[in-house]
Amino acid sequence: MKKELVKLIDLSRCTACRGCQVACKQWNELPAKRTKNFGSYQNPPDLQWNTWTLIRFQEHEKKNGKVNWLFRKDGCMHCTDAACIKVCPTGALYHTEFGSVSMHADKCIGCKACITACPFSVPKYNADTNKIAKCDLCYTRLQVNQPPACVLSCPTGALQIGAKDAMIKKAYARAEELGGDANVYGDKFVDGTHVVYILPERADVYEHLPVDPKVPLEIIIWKDVLKPAGLLAAGAVVAGCFLHYITHGPKTPDDETTCEGGNKS
């Protein structure tokens, strides 16, 4: 087993050049789609089946009244306790040896369960293929010791990839260096993500970023309680029926002769 990897995203260094967004499309051969200007530099408005990573643009008023621009590279967080893997009925989504969450596209049946389950709203549906698509942390590149395309493209050093422990250590050191509200996001929930942010602002400042992401309770009840309960209940009932039959016996009609000559009186 290879070491768990973490992609570290230092938002304080991101200039929103969108090199990663383009590099991702190029490496994964994802087409561009015509979009509408909705009054922001951000384009497209959200992650799409053909856009696995997206720089979100956000105007933010600081406490001192000054407005600054926040950029956030959005995309799959590669959760350890991954809701999407939990719900996938076919095993299309799976953990790689790097801890990332990859996908066997041929196994996906387009049921959209992962879309409902993901606390980060990451998987997106492609109606043409009837499959979902999302960032796979460039699994085929990791397999040959290459960094993900987005990491390679980043000109400012906002993106790095490396061993999990080393990256998390680096993240905390950098957050301390930045000071103020700067903090590390990702190592403390869903058993740790394999994409970790250094956020210059508090997490609740960022749009579309859950402050306390977790596998939804409904998903836990469904998959960890009811799923085993289904087999237990059926097994118990079958065993109960058998026991009833051998201890108590069937409820048989009193007059067995009816089948023979009829019961005319």
Binding site: I109, Y125, I221, W222, L231, P250
Partner: protein, 222 residues
């Protein structure tokens, strides 16, 4: 057909019953193929998991239609309890759980069957509603779709377990019941044992149909 058998079900009743039973079983098994990874092989058998889902979804529509007919056909006979005999029957465990000498006499459907009917009707409707919502999740709020997954799984647990009890009772648990589902004719002894009050009602109303005989005259003996 043997002379003296009693007509328990009509052809329409049997067709509807088979439709709802087989589609429910089909949904249980195709659903389990999706729920348990170890049963993904059920998908392979039909050419892939995508086909399994398609069969499940359209089978669901068939089930929904069958369920409407089932409820329309049976709610009066099986959906309403009649007191006090149904209550006494429940206390006596239907004579199934332990031997009871003088079982309270119940009508065409005993309270156990009524409960099974109500569970299928209620959870069947829940399965249809939740199934449709998780089939088209983009038309609904995420929080609702998540709850529907819980309901769909819960309904499965309950329906699947109840189905085995039902299957046991109508086969080896209460011998003589199954012909009601095939030919529609059952023995008089069976009716007397299982549904004595129903037999009396039919005899009194003159609705009793005995094979090889004209319809019973009012208040007449058969």
């Amino acid at each position: 057909m043997k002379i003296g058998m009693i007509k328990a079900t009509g052809p329409f009743e049997r067709v509807v019953h088979w439709c709802v039973a087989l589609s429910c079983l089909l949904l249980c098994f195709t659903g389990m193929g999706m729920m348990y990874h170890s049963l993904n092989g059920l998908g392979t058998m039909v050419g892939g998991m995508a086909n399994l889902k398609t069969i499940h979804n359209f089978g669901g529509i068939f089930f929904a239609i069958s369920l409407v007919f089932t409820i329309g056909m049976w709610w009066k006979e099986a959906g309403l309890f009649s007191f006090p005999e149904d209550w006494q029957w429940i206390i006596a465990g239907g004579g199934y759980l332990w031997h009871v000498e003088n079982m309270p006499e119940v009508g065409k459907y005993n309270p156990g069957q009524k409960m099974f009917f109500l569970v299928v009707a209620l959870f069947g409707a829940i399965m249809v509603a939740s199934g449709l919502i998780i089939w088209f999740p983009f038309s609904f709020a995420v929080s609702l779709v998540r709850m529907m997954y819980v309901l769909h799984a819960l309904g499965f647990v309950i329906i699947f377990a109840f189905f085995f009890v039902h299957l046991y009772l109508v086969t080896i648990g209460a011998p003589g019941s199954a012909p009601a589902m095939f030919t529609g004719w059952v023995t008089k002894a069976w009716v007397k044992k299982q549904h004595p009050k129903w037999l009396k009602e039919m005899e009194e109303d003159g609705t009793l149909v005995v094979y090889g005989e004209e319809k019973c005259s009012k208040k007449g003996r058969c």
